[in-house]
Symmetry: none
Subunit: 255 residues, 2 copies
């Protein structure tokens, strides 16, 4: 049974099995157990992962494999993309401490994305996320390996949980009981696809040379709000009504 208070750790296109094992060990060091793998380069399972996990076998055994990042985070309401470099994407930039705090305070499942060892996350993976998670590292030596990034995030999730558990009187948390969590990622994707389909009929993505950037801008706009399930449903209704041309429209007598 998934623990909704724990983030899902998503390794996107990890290269070495050894690093997957080390990441599993770092997770379990702080009690995180749910790992997802997006297209691991050398397939899965990987015989190099087990020895490097140093006993964190339960994490590896339960790891699920996905073809795309979008599929891996489909059930998650909050996606955080770990990246050092600024990607020209205008999203809030948070540190591991704030990410840890958000996992404990914002309802809905959280996914934390980590890119492949050599290159980091691709722009389209970052585009899925609401936040950019950056470890505030020595600007003159920015090389942080995968397991090290994972352990800092896991540590802060654990630390913030303890801090908040003992901080009821000093830190007043916003009441979120009336607030629904953001819709899961697959509902968001459905809405974005609907929007794009509608705009294609207006040649909104013309010229083709700029279509990709325009799509990314649209995705950024629609990812930012964190709309909940009901809000997404309302927007789908709006999009459906906009698909119909004005002249077809006739007032219908309500039943």
């Amino acid at each position: 049974m998934a623990d909704l208070n724990k983030p899902v750790i998503v390794l996107v296109c990890p290269q070495l099995g050894e690093n997957i094992g080390k990441a599993a060990r770092a997770m379990l060091n702080f009690g995180l157990t749910e790992m997802r793998l997006v297209s691991p380069r050398d397939g899965w399972p990987n015989p190099s992962a087990g020895p490097a996990a140093a006993g964190a076998d339960i994490v590896l055994e339960q790891a699920k494999v996905y073809t795309t990042t979008a599929e891996a985070v489909a059930d998650c309401a909050h996606v955080h993309a770990t990246t050092v470099r600024k990607r020209g994407v205008t999203k809030p930039v948070i540190g591991p401490d704030e990410a840890g705090r958000q996992v404990h305070t914002l309802a809905g499942r959280h996914a934390i994305l980590f890119g492949p060892e050599r290159s980091g996350l691709e722009t389209e993976d970052v585009a899925l996320a609401r936040n950019i998670l950056t470890v505030p590292i020595n600007p003159e030596f920015g090389s942080l390996n995968l397991a090290q990034a994972v352990i800092l995030v896991a540590y802060e999730w654990s630390r913030m949980g303890r801090e908040m558990a003992g901080a009821g009187d000093t830190l007043v948390q916003p009441t979120l009981e009336d607030t629904l969590p953001p819709a899961p990622q697959d509902e968001l994707e459905g809405m974005i696809a609907h929007f794009e389909k509608l705009l294609e009929t207006r040649n909104y993505f013309f010229p083709h040379s700029r279509a990709e950037a325009t799509r990314r801008t649209l995705r950024g706009l629609l990812t930012k709000p964190g709309w909940n399930h009901l809000e997404v449903r309302t927007l789908r209704g709006i999009l459906s009504s906009l698909e119909r041309p004005p002249e077809e429209q006739e007032p219908v007598t309500p039943s």
Copy 2:
């Protein structure tokens, strides 16, 4: 020249050169540069250390070697012994956050001791220390490797320094310097009006008895994101393109 505000990282009887290199990398990730080695098993320098340091050569080049732990910390006013296991020694037990805080607040040089990979610090090394530094780890999975322990301590030293530099604030706010503020209310109102006008042509607000509630829902949806000026402008463009029927649309050659 030693930076008195930075702790000295002391590796006691480290076994593998690779782990010394990884520890150096973890240190430099957060700007720590002073490493001391007590009787490294395979001597020093160690050819395996450099490749594992991944560019943190400056730390390795400046590393000093000592025969005993006592000699290695002779000039230090505060010694913290990193160990998971309780050693039957009655000393204060602190976490990496408190250790980081002490380095910044208690005058005098601080040394942080890390034991050999397999066995950890010996009792006599722990006895040198004022504090026992324990990473609050998953009690059911206590295996933390050397470089992971070093990076958590280095991270907390860095984080506490930043937190105290911005002191007064109890909560470290996320950095949003790249994020524009939400558009002024009149721009938001203009966008909402534009949206409503478009939807009226589709009879979206029918029946009239529910129009007011539907408008309120729409306004809530569009107010929630806090879209900035550029985002609102993009949305206005989208709305304008949706005003035109699909069939009028012709690809236009860009100028």
